[in-house]
């Protein structure tokens, strides 16, 4: 079994209320020097069998149609490691 990670982040031009809230809370808690925060989603997929190029292409398809909304989000797919 292998693990594939899909990271989904809001496009830079889309307002990110959650990231903004974190960025505002950090200095209040004494954490300074952080210019900006964006909050996105991380999916960990446990994939049965070997990761072939074909499998990966499939997963990219899923990331594009289901895991992210291309209207507002970008995604990256990477193979983490065998588990």
């Amino acid at each position: 079994m292998a693990r594939v990670v899909v990271d989904v982040m809001l496009k830079p031009e889309i307002l990110d209320p959650q990231g903004k809230a974190v960025a505002q809370a950090l200095p209040r808690l004494g954490y300074d020097g952080i210019a900006a925060v964006r909050q996105g989603k991380r999916f960990e997929l446990d994939v049965v069998g070997e990761i072939t190029e074909e499998r990966l292409a499939q997963i990219r398809g899923a990331a594009e149609t289901l895991l992210s909304n291309p209207v507002i989000e970008d995604f990256t797919v990477r193979v983490e490691d065998a588990i």
Binding site: L15, P17, Q18, A21, L66, N69, V71, I72
Partner: protein
């Protein structure tokens, strides 16, 4: 006139939408998400709720329900479709409407009696209102912030497709105070506020919402 109301697992306001349809004088028809058939209805309401728990993204999983296939096709063909709240999110995810809905800027679920201005009466669902009419209907959601890129927003404005706008303050950070939009043809309308909760004096803040349903009835039956 027969108006289909789709129930997805996790739909919540489906019974309310059916009641609103009935009070408007039409016949509500319950449609099931797993049924790839619209049963010959004359219009469809996608109701509010948390389809599939709103996990992942609101409307993201519901978009792939079997019923959506004939619905999308029929909508392109001019079938009147109204998406309320979660239904609006499903319409955006299905690309029947542009843009997307994100987490409210204050990051809380918010249930309030919301003032709206009806900006476009050129849709199947709003023809019964006067342009500029102020109405009050409940708004209740956690992810109601309407977003789209500038070009899309400019396009919506230019084509008169902003159907309702928030009045008296922006409740959730929606770009340009947008509460609801339509497709080019005006048969598909999506909005975050809940007109189906404003159809009876007893249970709603007003009866302002009823006109959405009577407008469609008039458009279809011509009465």
């Amino acid at each position: 006139m027969r108006v289909g109301v789709v129930t997805f697992p996790g739909s919540l306001d489906d019974a309310d939408a059916r009641r609103a349809v009935r009070l408007a004088g039409a016949e509500p028809v319950a449609l099931w998400h797993a049924d790839a058939d619209l049963h010959g209805v004359d219009a469809v309401v996608l109701p509010g709720g948390f389809s599939y728990g709103d996990y992942l993204r609101c409307g993201a999983i519901a978009r792939f329900a079997p019923v959506m296939e004939p619905l999308v096709e029929a909508a392109h063909g001019g079938l009147p479709v109204l998406g309320i709240c979660n239904g609006f999110q499903v319409l955006c995810e299905s690309h029947l409407l542009p843009g997307a809905l994100i987490r409210n800027d204050h990051r809380k679920f918010n249930c309030v009696d919301q003032a709206l201005v009806v900006e476009s009466t050129a849709t199947v669902w709003t023809s019964g209102y006067a342009t500029g009419q102020r109405i009050v209907v409940p708004l209740k959601n956690g992810e109601g912030g309407y977003v789209a890129d500038e070009k899309t927003l400019d396009g919506l404005e230019a084509e008169g497709r902003v159907v309702v706008r928030y009045a008296g303050g922006n409740p959730n950070g929606s770009y340009r105070d947008i509460a609801g939009i339509s497709n080019e043809r005006g048969n598909v309308v999506g909005l975050m506020p809940h007109p189906e909760h404003a159809v009876e004096d007893l249970t709603g803040p007003s009866t302002d919402g009823l006109t959405f349903f009577t407008s469609a009835l008039k458009a279809v039956v011509g009465v």
